[in-house]
């Protein structure tokens, strides 16, 4: 078990190093950092000075080493565009994105899993077909279009919900939350639904496919032949086995939640990291791009690690084989 986790940790470090390398390459070789940082009227001497302070004259491997050390501490330098330290910019935006992602994931799970189970068990009922249609719509309607339609309906026509921003936020230390104010809660409804629909669709289809597969297995057949109730077969034997692959894939999907958060943030002008990133891409603001890249990879790696551990806890077959490690 422990050596399994160590192995995973090493793999994660490798992933992080690769990503760090890519973002270093981005930072160092895409455009000239000096001319991006310096203003028009900076003298040549000042430019030299800046060059030196950035360490751009050092050998590349030392630069990469320094970059990695700094990145590990969250130091990515200054934004070219906003002239502020990237770390503070990101820290300010991070709570907004995380709250949005969490709320929408919870919505997606709470709806997706039961819908998937239902459509797998009662395949031919009307409700099942309705769920399947909804899920196809969820895949076929681009996230931004869902956002626009929601805005048009609830924002412009009915005027029930705000169409942009986070509403009022409350500061809890460095963390700013919108979940404790009425306007904040109201503001998160539409963005969270927009972001959650695609996830929900995905979870539902995954649960359905896995569940159907498991319901065909011999041990379910044998359970049925022993007179076990449908409830026990579905929820005790099948669902538990279903959740194993579901955990993995949902874990892998965290990346997409964040990517889709970026679209949602753009549609609703949600002050999160994604919006910052899109602006950075439009303005070729490399330090922010590099930092965003590393942060996403980090989140991905951490969640994957958690998923791996969960996997071992749920599946006794893995537990046994990892004991032998």
């Amino acid at each position: 078990m422990i050596s399994f986790i160590i192995k995973r940790l090493l793999q994660s470090m490798l992933v992080m190093l690769t990503v760090a390398f890519i973002s270093f390459g981005l930072f160092r070789f895409v455009g000239d950092p000096v001319s991006n940082m310096a203003g028009q009227d900076t003298s040549i001497e000042d430019r030299q000075e800046l060059r030196k302070s950035l360490g751009l004259d050092d050998p590349v491997y030392i630069q990469f080493f320094n970059f990695t050390i700094n990145a590990a501490q969250g130091k990515f330098g200054q934004s070219y565009m906003l002239r502020e330290p990237v770390r503070e910019l990101m820290a300010k935006r991070f709570p907004a994105t995380l709250e949005l992602a969490l709320v929408s994931s919870v919505i997606a799970m709470l709806l997706g899993v039961p819908m998937g189970v239902y459509t797998a068990i009662r395949r031919n009922t009307l409700l099942s077909k309705a769920f399947m249609t909804i899920s196809l719509m969820g895949v076929s309607l681009p996230t931004f279009l869902i956002g626009i339609l929601l805005i048009l309906l609830f924002g412009v026509t009915l005027r029930w919900l705000p169409t942009f921003g986070r509403g009022d936020v409350v500061q809890l230390g460095w963390w700013s939350t919108g979940l404790l104010t009425a306007s904040g809660l109201k503001a998160i409804i539409m963005p969270a639904i927009t972001l959650g629909i695609f996830q929900m669709t995905l979870i539902m289809r995954l649960v359905r496919a896995e569940m159907m597969e498991i319901l065909r297995t011999d041990y379910i057949k044998f359970g049925r032949a022993r007179g076990l109730s449908n409830r026990s077969l579905y929820f005790r034997h099948a669902l538990k086995n279903t959740l194993i692959p579901v955990i993995t894939i949902t874990g892998l999907q965290i990346g997409s939640i964040i990517a889709f958060a970026l679209i949602t943030e753009s549609v609703f002008q949600w002050p999160g990291m994604g919006l910052l990133f899109i602006q950075a891409v439009g303005n070729a603001d490399v330090p922010i791009m590099a930092a965003y890249l590393v942060l996403i990879a980090f989140i991905f790696v951490v969640i994957n690690l958690i998923v791996d551990v969960l996997y071992v806890i749920v599946d006794p077959r893995l537990r046994a084989s990892s004991e032998g490690d």
């Binding site: 196809l136 309607l141 681009p142 931004f144 626009i148 496919a209 990517a259 899109i278 991905f300």
Partner: protein, 314 residues
């Protein structure tokens, strides 16, 4: 004479097989499949022949008249019979821009799917068949790539292209950047599926029979394994087409995709979005509907295809 007969025999044989084929049969007995295929073909048809069908050429600046700008659809008061679905802020006919926009969206979708497919199937075959270290390397790359969803990769590539290239060059090559970005981000799913299928196929006895004959590895992969794993690839390809079109639209909507000079459906929605609050909903909603029609029909068809070929695929 004899050749003709053999030929006729082959055609009869083919028709008999077709009639016997479960997938073909279930296609014609599934109204959803037939309708979605018809709708998808219709959308493809009208966009391929956009220049013939469209009442106006929206890129011909000379034909535009600002007097015609922001007209609502025909059935609303103030509508102009020349512009069935209304006009945008520059007086372009919405119907025509949709037709041209669909063409670009479909083009980007198809080309990037083909690139992804070739790359993914190739790497998946190699990874699954050769195994060992090669497999480990390819799959690790796939893992890392999977942590960055398509949209993120496309955004990054676009950001890089923007930094490296002057602005006017960038909008000219935007479509290639876009295709490249979507293609590169899409290969993983093909590779993973093909790899796992190859791993189950390669231990089957027909592959061993090939080895006993003495066939080379490439022949075995190409002649024996590939035809047995290709079915699900079509399913993924179909669903990926819908996804690629949506990604392209999303990027264009975010303003990092195709420029307004060669607008795709996503660009049109982006342009329209600015007028949403002033009540000119048709500039957004109609291109949006066209986009959904394409994506939905392709997805419905792919969904049916998956159920017919291999329900276990996601």
């Amino acid at each position: 004479m004899e050749n003709q007969e053999i030929e006729r025999g082959r055609i009869a044989d083919f028709l008999h097989r077709l009639n016997d084929n479960d997938i073909w049969w279930s296609f014609w007995h599934s109204p959803v499949a037939v309708l979605s295929a018809a709708l998808a073909l219709f959308m493809i048809f009208i966009s391929v022949f956009a220049s013939v069908i469209a009442p106006f050429n929206p890129f011909d600046l000379a034909s535009l008249d600002l007097m015609d700008s922001s007209l609502p659809p025909v059935w609303q008061s103030g509508g102009d019979p020349r512009f069935l679905l209304g006009t945008d802020d520059q007086g372009r006919d919405i119907l025509s821009t949709i037709l041209y926009g669909s063409r670009i969206s479909l083009l980007v979708g198809f080309v990037s799917v083909i690139f992804s497919l070739i790359l993914g199937v190739g790497l998946g075959l190699i990874s699954g068949y050769v195994g060992g270290r090669t497999d480990a390397i390819i799959m690790r790359i796939a893992d890392v790539q999977l942590s960055f969803p398509a949209i993120l990769i496309a955004l990054l590539l676009d950001g890089v292209a923007r930094t490296l290239l002057p602005k006017d060059v960038h909008s000219e090559i935007a479509i290639y950047v876009m295709i490249f970005a979507i293609a590169v981000s899409g290969w993983v799913q093909y590779a993973r599926t093909v790899r796992s299928m190859v791993m189950t196929e390669k231990v089957k006895e027909y592959v061993q029979a090939g080895q006993v004959i003495g066939l080379g590895q490439f022949t075995i992969m190409w002649r024996h394994i590939l035809p047995n794993v290709i079915g699900p690839v079509f399913v993924i390809g179909t669903l990926h087409l819908a996804l690629a079109i949506i990604i392209e639209a999303t990027l264009s909507f975010l303003g990092v995709g195709l420029p307004p000079t060669t607008p795709s459906l996503g660009t049109l929605i982006r342009i329209g979005n600015e007028y949403l609050f002033s009540g000119e909903w048709w500039i957004t909603i109609f291109p949006g509907a066209a986009l959904v029609a394409i994506a939905l029909s392709v997805n419905l068809f792919g969904d049916w295809l998956r159920d017919a070929i291999n329900p276990k695929l996601l």
